[in-house]
């Protein structure tokens, strides 16, 4: 605290003029302390630091359906008949090329290839292969853009999911939603720009608040997690006996006090605090309005599945995501855990799909029929893929798969991506990428590009150098864009 007071002294005019070098130094320090000039989260007209995107955007909002745990691409989207043929035989060294294995399956005496127990068929005009586990997704393949050649370096969950969300395997950096909130601001002042929904009907690898955190960006840009349940935000309602008439006056006075403090101390977090109070005030009306599902026809609930009436489940979250998108929330991130099937894969993945397939497809259909898919980007994917060999004992109807960062599948749909398109190819055994690899940073660069942001130009100076979501990597994958 003391340094701030001395700073204030040093900014005294006489000091500035007589000790110019020190004055300039403190001016520089001042700009370091408050690089934002309190632009973020100022409510109406919050256009972010960029004021407008670098290029005309294709997407104005993103719904990211994050499948935490690493869904197995061989059981879902990447059909490998060669695995059938070579089922049970050892993973060839020529394919593995000495790649490191995890501590979990690395000690196995053998690495037997495991074919998918589930059958595949081609669907839609694009002929995408989808397994029998995803009948609903199979219906909408002509709206999806599959990327089969994703790869990452991270082999375990925490670094991998941190990598996807922040661009670095080490924690501490802002998440995608925070970058977008910082760069582009908000289209709807009444709701947070970045909202996170975690399924209550799933468990597995842990998730951390830093995955939707703001890192070194102003704290108004962080993701707001709605609780999984009937009351996504607590204490919105006024308590018994309080009508709330004077709340506005209270907030105004509080804001004045905070402003005085800011003027004397100069800590930008004070402005963020003021902004959060204001947002909470507006959320008192906006959140109940979003959660009030009485205007949804029964057909919609049926389309999403019976879980959709149970707030907090994946299906209910998908429906809520659509409602938030209708209200122009810029970044809506869902997390559904439980895809980490090291063992007992066939049964476990079947349950996972049963819990998510219908709602995922319903979200696409729902956005499309409402015309929202025109400018909303939907992403489905996990943090890495799974191995083609079995972890643990390989039997006729049971096997497990370990983590595999070298190739996995994600799909995107909506604004700016080619519908009914398949990009990239893995090799016959689904171990390496054969064509058109897409790195996590490339994916992030492409995502930002779709929102009109040049990933190389949205940056923030911190600890002496400029940071950006893609760090010093990443190329936009133009081939999947319309």
């Amino acid at each position: 605290m003391h340094e701030y007071y001395t700073l204030k002294e040093q900014l005294n005019r006489r000091h500035f003029l007589t000790q110019t070098s020190l004055g300039l130094g403190s001016a520089a320090l001042g700009s370091l302390l408050n690089p934002l000039h309190s632009h973020a989260g100022e409510g109406p007209g919050d256009k972010g630091i960029l004021r407008a995107p670098h290029i005309v955007p294709k997407a104005k909002r993103v719904i990211y359906l994050f499948q935490s745990g690493g869904p197995s691409q061989m059981e879902l989207f990447d059909y490998k008949p060669m695995l059938e043929k070579m089922h049970g035989s050892e993973l060839p060294d020529s394919v593995r090329k000495g790649q490191r294995l995890t501590g979990m399956s690395g000690d196995q005496s053998s690495l037997p290839l495991a074919r998918s127990i589930y059958s595949f068929k081609q669907y839609g005009n694009c002929g995408a292969w989808v397994s029998e586990l995803l009948p609903h997704t199979a219906e909408v393949v002509d709206d999806l853009c599959f990327v089969r050649s994703m790869y990452t370096e991270a082999i375990n969950h925490d670094p991998a999911i941190t990598f996807f969300q922040t661009g670095s395997q080490l924690p501490g950096r802002p998440s995608i939603g925070a970058w977008l909130s910082y760069g582009l601001g908000s289209d709807n002042e009444n709701l947070p720009t970045f909202i996170v929904l975690v399924s209550k009907n799933a468990g597995g690898q842990p998730l951390y608040a830093r995955l939707w955190g703001n890192g070194f960006l102003p704290s108004v840009t962080q993701g707001v997690q709605f609780r999984s349940g009937k009351d996504p935000v607590l204490y919105l309602k006024d308590p018994e006996g309080y009508t709330g008439d004077d709340r506005r006056r209270m907030l105004d006075c509080l804001s004045q006090l905070d402003q005085l403090q800011y003027e004397s101390v100069g800590d930008p977090a004070i402005n963020d605090r003021i902004a959060q109070y204001e947002m909470a005030y507006r959320m008192q009306t906006s959140v109940p309005d979003v959660m009030d599902m009485s205007d949804e026809p029964d057909s919609v609930f049926e389309m999403y599945g019976k879980d959709s009436r149970d707030p907090g489940t994946y299906a209910a979250n998908c429906l809520l995501a659509r409602r938030l998108a209708e209200r122009d929330v810029k970044f809506i991130q869902l997390y559904h855990q439980g895809w980490d099937q090291h063992g007992n894969l066939p049964k476990a993945i079947k349950n996972q799909c049963a819990a998510t397939d219908q709602a995922t497809a319903a979200l696409i259909k729902d956005l499309k029929q409402r015309g929202l898919l025109e400018d909303t980007l939907v992403i489905w994917g996990g943090e890495f893929g799974r191995t083609n060999y079995s972890q643990g004992k390989l039997t006729e109807d049971d096997y497990g798969r370990d983590h595999h960062p070298r190739c996995f599948t994600i799909w995107m749909a909506g604004a700016g991506v080619k519908p009914g398109f398949i990009y990239g190819e893995t090799d016959e055994l689904c171990y390496n990428i054969a064509k058109d690899p897409v790195h996590v940073h490339d994916f992030q660069a492409t995502l930002l590009h779709l929102l009109g942001v040049d990933h190389e130009k949205l940056n923030f100076k911190y600890q002496g150098r400029r940071f950006r979501l893609t760090d010093v990597h990443g190329h936009v994958v133009h081939d999947i864009l319309t």
Binding site: P44, G45, K47, L50, R51, A52, P53, H54, I55, V56, P57, K60, D187, N188, E189, N190, D289, E326, D328, K368, Q369, R370, G371, E374, G452, H478, L481, T482
Partner: protein
């Protein structure tokens, strides 16, 4: 060795230019009594100027053997350069060597020789610049009247004509622009580095010392593409270090041109170029700039006004001042007052989202004035066919969202008139497959969503 020393000519040549001009300047100054103390300095400067001029001439001779330069220009530059050095030497000799000082009127001759030397220096310096950068280097970006005056018949003038995407030609406008900007500095009719001239189709096809630069239809065997896509650190990478390399889009554009047969007369609009290349073409031809400067950014005060009324107003992008307007005030708070305020920016609104605003049919008459609107969202409003019919003047409309309105098949007639319409959303309306069929007859490319 010859080539090695010859390459020092561009380095050394700047010395005589600077020093000899300075000598002239000092001489003129020294003629004034106040500066008469400068007289010995003139001698010193002239001496070193002469020495450096001779060194420049020697290296110049060595460089001229490399054979890449236009012969006429080279000849002129060479001999005027030699004259400059000779005159500088003569001026020095006349002034300093005792024999001359005492036999002729040294001051008179000195004053006679010096201006000739200065003129020769200026001329040969300019010719040297032309050799390296092309004779139009100075005038290329001069205002048009100046260009006409100075260089009436050169073919390398940047065409100031406004090209629009509809009439732009792939080679003549786009590819040649890239060659002009990034290659023709060294690959032009006067200076042909590597024997290659890139200022006309014939010249490009003729190739250079390394053979064919461009093989129509084949990117792999086109040397030009190989050179610009090498590792930038490679010795053979083009353009060489110091010059701006081609961007990925520019390279892709030239590749497309080669794949299409490396011809002239192909219209950009008729080819199936991907979007990013079209953007690149526009950038090369500076089309987007001229389009958007036609519409200036909207007054920020007006934006503030609209925002207090509950609109979210933002520019489409940093370079594009057209507006994306969403009404965020919530149901029930939208009124005619809001529309009347919005009308003030009607020419600049490209995307308009008025869903759930409680709009009525007569509100749509106001909306029909938003003639630049490309994307219109009217979902969840109780507007009927009568209101929708008002929207026909919106010639630029590409996306129309009528979800949960009272539209029926009757609107098809009005919708048919929207020639630019690409996507139509009619879920939860009275529009049926019959209406959609009729619509598709006139608009086979139209995407209609929401009717099973």
């Amino acid at each position: 060795m010859v080539a090695f020393f010859g390459r020092f000519h561009p380095v050394l040549v700047h010395l005589p230019i600077g020093v000899l001009f300075f000598a002239v300047f000092l001489y003129l100054l020294s003629r004034f009594k106040k500066y008469s103390y400068l007289t010995p300095v003139v001698d010193l400067t002239l001496f070193w100027g002469t020495v450096s001029a001779v060194a420049a001439v020697v290296t110049g001779f060595l460089l001229s053997n490399s054979g890449q330069y236009d012969e006429t220009l080279l000849f002129q530059h060479k001999w005027i350069g030699v004259s400059t050095a000779a005159l500088a030497l003569a001026a020095y000799v006349v002034r300093k060597i005792p024999f001359f000082r005492h036999t002729v009127n040294s001051d008179f001759f000195f004053a006679l020789i010096l201006p000739f030397m200065a003129v020769c220096l200026a001329v040969t310096g300019h010719l040297g610049g032309s050799l390296t950068h092309g004779s139009n280097y100075l005038v290329e970006y001069a205002p048009v009247p100046a260009q006409k005056l100075l260089n009436p018949d050169s073919q390398m003038l940047t065409t100031q004509k406004k090209v629009d995407l509809g009439s732009a030609l792939l080679f003549e406008d786009a590819v040649q622009a890239i060659f002009r900007q990034k290659c023709a500095g060294c690959h032009n009719t006067e200076k042909k580095s590597g024997g290659l001239d890139l200022t006309s189709l014939q010249a490009v096809m003729n190739g250079g010392e390394s053979g064919r630069a461009v093989q129509p239809g084949s990117v792999e065997t086109s040397e030009l593409i190989r050179r610009v896509t090498l590792e930038p650190s490679s010795d053979f990478f083009m353009p060489p270090e110091g010059k701006t390399p081609l961007t990925r889009d520019e390279t892709a554009l030239i590749e497309w041109w080669i794949m299409y047969g490396a011809m002239t007369g192909q219209k950009v609009a008729q080819l199936d170029l991907p979007e990013n290349l079209l953007d690149s073409v526009k950038k090369t031809l500076k089309i987007e700039e001229s389009e958007t400067t036609a519409i200036s950014a909207v007054d920020p005060q007006l934006v503030g006004e609209l925002e207090t009324l509950g609109f979210s107003v933002r520019q489409l992008s940093q370079k594009n001042p057209m507006l994306d307007v969403i009404y965020t005030g919530g149901q029930g708070s939208f009124s005619r007052e809001n529309l009347d305020a919005l009308i003030k920016v009607k020419d600049q609104v490209a995307w308009l989202d008025l869903s759930s605003c409680g709009l009525q049919d007569d509100d749509l008459t106001v909306i029909s004035e938003f003639n630049s609107c490309a994307r219109l969202i009217l979902s969840h409003n109780a507007v009927t066919d009568a209101g929708i019919a008002h929207l026909t003047p919106l010639a630029k409309l590409e996306v129309l969202n009528l979800v949960n309105t009272k539209a029926t098949d009757e609107s098809v007639t009005a919708l048919t008139e929207m020639k630019n319409l690409k996507s139509l959303y009619v879920w939860q309306t009275g529009v049926t497959t019959v209406g959609v069929e009729r619509l598709k007859q006139n608009h086979p490319e139209l995407k209609v969503v929401g009717v099973e």
